[in-house]
Symmetry: C2
């Protein structure tokens, strides 16, 4: 499958490489083409990897990952272009971190980044997922012992089914994938961050995740 | 031990009954003495149970539980009285739910109820705990299969040690109790609510909890 990955940070790079490994063609998008990090990634990732602008990558992808920083995501997606994202599944795994006030979110509770993106791109099928954990685990869930959970939120059921398939290819088991309903479910997942950071800080490692125990 | 339980709702009643069962003397406090629900509870709970005003219960307790509704907690604690709470451990398990806007919090992210209570009662040792789950599980954690976690946040280490002892008496295992550091850790625990609700709604049961998987 052709997949666009927007963002050249650690998350974008990790997602892009894993998708290549799984046989997909991946174009990494950034503010301008020939971005240094994107070019370095293409060289490392091989023949099925390419790079371009946000618009190039969005146009290229049958499915698009938003791996840009949460505070810049809507702006980056506007640069990607409504037409290029129209009708497509957009997997949003960004969190709206306030980089000037560590450990807090720019907005939450009555709003979420997932909802803002869905509102700004009504003809795109936004699915919020994977944003509750470190990127190493997103793509290799079996590195932890036993089962643990990944959450999904989005308005379009067929888009969520497609995302479930992709998550399964990453190693997630079907019973680990929890559908939280419509895109407003993104709030709960983004609001995990302060707890996540408090668990992370003493460990100094993101190699953990949450499991629902019944 | 003599324990004050502020609040006559389901949480206060459940906590009070469990404490009685464990051999403690419990006074349930409410806005006015001879509150109907408090009196009914005393009759059911037996000889070691009593009731009174918030101030009576706070004075009675060597340790005090805040089981009032989050939106009214600071007000209820003011009625309990600074002097009556001075030097004592106050276990805060309320969440600042916005009852006019279901599923949202009155404040969060840069603030928490735990912090507001600690700021209003600087001579009281506030420990935030147990607020991330349904009250049935708080007091009987072994009803779920396998291990799961309870969080603690508070500025006073000896107060937290005392709370750990109490949690252990409820059935919590030491390795299930996660210290999130100072009282600002309350933010992360209160912000679990929107996710908790989205998990709860399709189940229609609060008989679940979160576990940190490594």
């Amino acid at each position: 499958m052709k997949i666009g990955v927007l963002g050249t940070g650690m998350v974008g790079e990790t997602i892009g490489s894993r998708l290549i490994q799984l046989g997909h063609e991946v174009q990494m998008g950034s503010r301008s083409s020939n971005n240094e990090k994107a070019c370095a990634w293409v060289q490392k990732a091989g023949a099925r990897a390419s790079q371009g602008t946000f618009a190039d990558a969005a146009k290229f992808g049958e499915l698009v990952f938003n791996c840009t920083k949460g505070e810049k995501s809507v702006e980056a997606l506007r640069a990607a272009g409504k037409e290029n994202l129209k009708g497509k599944v957009l997997i949003d795994l960004a969190n709206p971190l306030d980089l000037n006030n560590q450990g807090t979110l720019l907005f939450c509770n009555t709003d979420s980044l997932g909802e803002r993106i869905q509102a700004a791109f009504p003809n795109t099928k936004v699915v919020k997922t994977l944003n509750t954990m470190w990127c190493g685990i997103m793509l290799n869930p079996r590195m932890l012992k036993g089962t643990h959970n990944v959450f999904l939120a989005g308005n379009d059921q067929s888009a969520k089914s497609q995302v479930v398939e992709l998550l399964t290819s990453f190693g997630w088991q079907n019973d680990e994938i929890v559908d939280l309903g419509d895109i407003r479910g993104a709030r709960g997942t983004e609001m995990i961050l302060p707890l996540w950071l408090r668990i992370y800080q003493p460990k100094g490692s993101g190699a953990f995740n949450l499991r629902i125990v019944q």
